[in-house]
């Protein structure tokens, strides 16, 4: 069944119901002597349209997967399917090809069986589409009758529409929540499988990261899956080097913009700073890999460091810090601006200078908000992928030397998943375990940061 069909059906019948109910409401109006009505004609229209279209659309939505199951059962029951290989890839390939041929008869055809099956397939799916549309029309008809019986001048259509709108909004907001749950479930499931092969202790506390995608699944060397160097690299690049750049620059620009800059300068400097947040991270990646990395290498060479890496932790961290500046500065800006002006006046009235007021009163008062901003920035930085993929190395080094090559959790996830590994090998599954850890850490950081911001807001309102 083509997906356009339910949409067109729902829209068409909905529009018809809308027009009909609105016309009915207009005749009610014309016949009524009172000026005050329970609802506007368009409320009647929406009431009818939603009643007719929504149940039918829901049914068709559910019918899609049900009918494809029924079709598949039909196809497998047909005499042509009895000769199919019982299991394996070939059986799947033939069935897939039959499905393709059914909707596109001129498509590629490698198996003779597929051609006969396609026939069955096409017939069966036509049949079930027919049934589906029939039931949908019955449902729509039933709703239409129900609505027609209720279309009276005193129907509180306005309130009904209000409730229906709430339902629609609720459904859409559930989409985001359910997606998050789905992502979480996927991660948990795959991580569980990984921990079945490699012990969580080896993974979380081992210091050697060297997964071997060629090893047989029966002989896993768990000691090669120690993720500590990755965690360290992630922290060192995202939470240390990047923050050494982003916190001072972000804070000071926020202080200048909120406290010193004249409105005209602020009017263009603030958006200009925020443009940094809109630059695609891949562009930062070029910048880090092609400009900053080699430059740092050259400086290190001049300083007499032997054989420095051009994929140093420093270059990725510095560029990531620049990317994070707008996050820190806009959070700091908001929190400083949220400190009541009574604090500032109180300090100025004591004879404090502007600088003393900022350092001793405004920034301490805004500190919870600033800290929350930094936490959000860190969670952003450690989850950032493109810059480190382009500028950091894939070598897992456990070192405190910023000139050395280091790798991060995200780089390894990309490396593990872009290979040819199969999805039941720990090398691939390790990517999910890494993703799970990253997910938990950023979730915790965001959660704490939001709590802090909330308490800070409450303190001043």
């Amino acid at each position: 069944m083509s997906p356009a069909l339910p949409i067109l059906l729902a829209l068409g019948l909905g529009l018809a119901a809308w027009l009909f109910a609105r016309a009915r409401a207009l005749t009610f109006r014309a016949n009524s002597t009172s000026k005050r009505h329970s609802a506007l004609p368009s409320h009647f229209g929406w009431y009818a349209a939603l009643w007719v279209a929504v149940p039918m659309a829901l049914f068709l939505l559910a019918w899609g997967p049900i009918s494809s199951q029924l079709v598949m059962a039909d196809v497998l029951d047909s005499p042509a399917a009895q000769d199919l290989p019982a299991f394996g890839q070939q059986r799947m390939a033939i069935l897939a090809e039959a499905r393709n041929l059914a909707s596109n008869p001129g498509g590629p055809n490698f198996y003779d069986e597929a051609r006969t099956l396609a026939q069955v397939y096409a017939e069966s799916s036509q049949f079930y589409t027919f049934i589906g549309v029939g039931i949908a029309l019955l449902i729509a008809g039933a709703s239409a009758v129900y609505v027609y019986l209720r279309l009276k001048p005193d129907l509180a259509a306005r309130n009904h529409v209000e409730r229906m709108v709430m339902g629609v909004l609720l459904a859409f907001s559930l989409v985001a929540i359910l997606t998050t749950l789905g992502i979480f479930a996927t991660l948990v499931f795959e991580t569980w499988r990984f921990f079945g092969m490699v012990s969580p202790l080896d993974f979380l506390f081992g210091v050697q990261w060297n997964p071997d995608p060629m090893s047989a699944t029966e002989h896993i060397d768990a000691s090669r899956y120690g993720a500590v160097p990755l965690f360290w690299g992630t922290l060192f690049i995202g939470a240390i080097i990047a923050m050494i750049v982003a916190i001072p620059v972000g804070m000071m620009s926020a202080i200048y913009l909120t406290q010193y800059a004249n409105p005209r300068f602020r009017a263009w400097a603030k958006p200009a700073l925020e443009v940094l947040a809109g630059v695609p991270t891949v562009v930062y990646g070029y910048f880090a890999a092609l400009t900053i990395g080699p430059a740092i290498r050259n400086v290190a060479l001049m300083l007499g460091v032997s054989n420095p890496s051009s994929e140093s932790a420093l270059s990725a961290g510095l560029v990531m810090g620049v990317m994070i500046i707008p996050f820190v500065s806009s959070m700091a800006d908001d929190s400083i601006a949220a400190v009541p002006s009574a604090m500032r006046d109180g300090s100025l009235a004591m004879g404090a200078t502007k600088n003393e007021t900022i350092r001793r009163v405004l920034v301490p008062a805004a500190l919870p908000g600033i800290v929350a901003g930094v936490m959000l920035a860190i969670s952003r930085a450690i989850g950032e992928t493109m810059i480190v993929v382009m500028a950091a190395s894939t070598a897992a080094n456990l070192s405190a030397n910023p000139l050395e090559a280091m790798t991060t959790v995200t780089v390894q996830i990309v490396a593990l998943l872009t290979g040819e590994g199969s999805f039941d090998h720990p090398t691939t599954l390790a990517a999910f375990a890494l993703g799970f850890v990253l997910f938990l850490v950023t979730l915790a950081l965001n959660f704490i940061a939001l709590r802090v911001v909330k308490r800070f807001r409450e303190a001043y309102e």
Binding site: D345, M350, E356, V361, A365, A459
Partner: protein
């Protein structure tokens, strides 16, 4: 007797002879304003106000909302500077020194002319740090022991010491409203100002806390020139020795509190005091 640097008396229509008598007895005014006008952008908030404020007296500014009394108060320690559109003309002097002169150090001025705000605004720091803030930035204490002395003395003078001496490390914002306001007064006197400006200091407080603050103002007046803006005429009558009545940006009448309340020279003052408007 000693003459002020501004020999001519303020040109106030309702000025009473008794004020000149006070001046003669009391020496030069602590702060003098001559023909002061304040503008917010195009709008004129204060129109040529001239007034003298004396040490050891509490001077109350009364008048209906929007009459400019707070604006005028804020121009006495140049807090209007923080509002970009505000402009002050005329002359305001502290001990004869023009505070709007280009050489005036605003930081020093505000240390000498302290301020207490309408809503208690303790810093989100400990009680101790709230008081120590001013002495620290002005370098009034040479040692931790000095600072401890200043903090204790200021809290004692503000009548708060006995209530908070065991919890100086607690945050100042955790105190009750009245305690917070006394903390702000203690904070202001910790830098040993000469003038204390109070902008409706009791308007956010309950009657008991208000009574405590009024008592405190009375205790403090011997050492400072205190100027208080208030909406409560009873409060002005209770705490002040001088009362100035502002209306629509003009200083209508200025005199001894007893005279202003019992025998106002101006019809408008009388109407306001008897509750005819405002």
């Amino acid at each position: 007797m000693v003459m002020t640097e501004y020999p001519e008396a303020p040109k106030v229509r309702g000025a009473m002879p008794s004020i000149d008598a006070e001046r003669a007895e009391h020496g030069p005014a602590k702060m003098t304003a001559r023909d002061v006008s304040v503008y917010y952008g195009e709008k004129q908030a204060i129109d040529s106000v001239s007034i003298d404020v004396f040490s050891e007296y509490v001077t109350a500014f009364i008048g209906p909302s929007g009459c400019g009394k707070s604006t005028f108060l804020r121009s006495l320690n140049r807090m209007n500077d923080t509002i970009a559109a505000a402009r002050v003309t005329g002359e305001i002097a502290l001990d004869g020194e023009d505070i709007y002169a280009s050489g005036m150090d605003v930081v020093q001025l505000r240390a000498r002319v302290g301020m207490v705000f309408q809503k208690p605004n303790p810093f989100p720091k400990s009680i101790y740090e709230n008081i120590a803030y001013g002495p620290r930035i002005h370098g009034l204490a040479d040692s931790k022991a000095d600072l401890d002395v200043i903090v204790e003395k200021s809290l004692q003078r503000a009548g708060l010491w006995n209530e908070v001496k065991d919890r100086l490390a607690d945050t100042g914002t955790a105190l009750s409203g009245g305690q917070q306001q006394r903390l702000c007064i203690a904070r202001a006197i910790a830098v040993e100002p000469e003038v204390i400006l109070m902008d409706e200091p009791c308007s956010a407080l309950d009657p008991i806390a208000t009574a405590k603050i009024e008592e405190l103002i009375d205790d403090l007046r011997g050492n400072y020139a205190i100027v208080i803006v208030t909406h409560s005429m009873q409060q002005a009558a209770r705490v002040s020795q001088r009362t100035a009545f502002f209306h629509l940006g003009h200083l209508v009448e200025y005199g001894l509190t007893s005279d202003v309340f019992t025998n106002p020279a101006e019809e408008r003052t009388k109407d306001y005091i008897t509750g005819r408007y405002g």
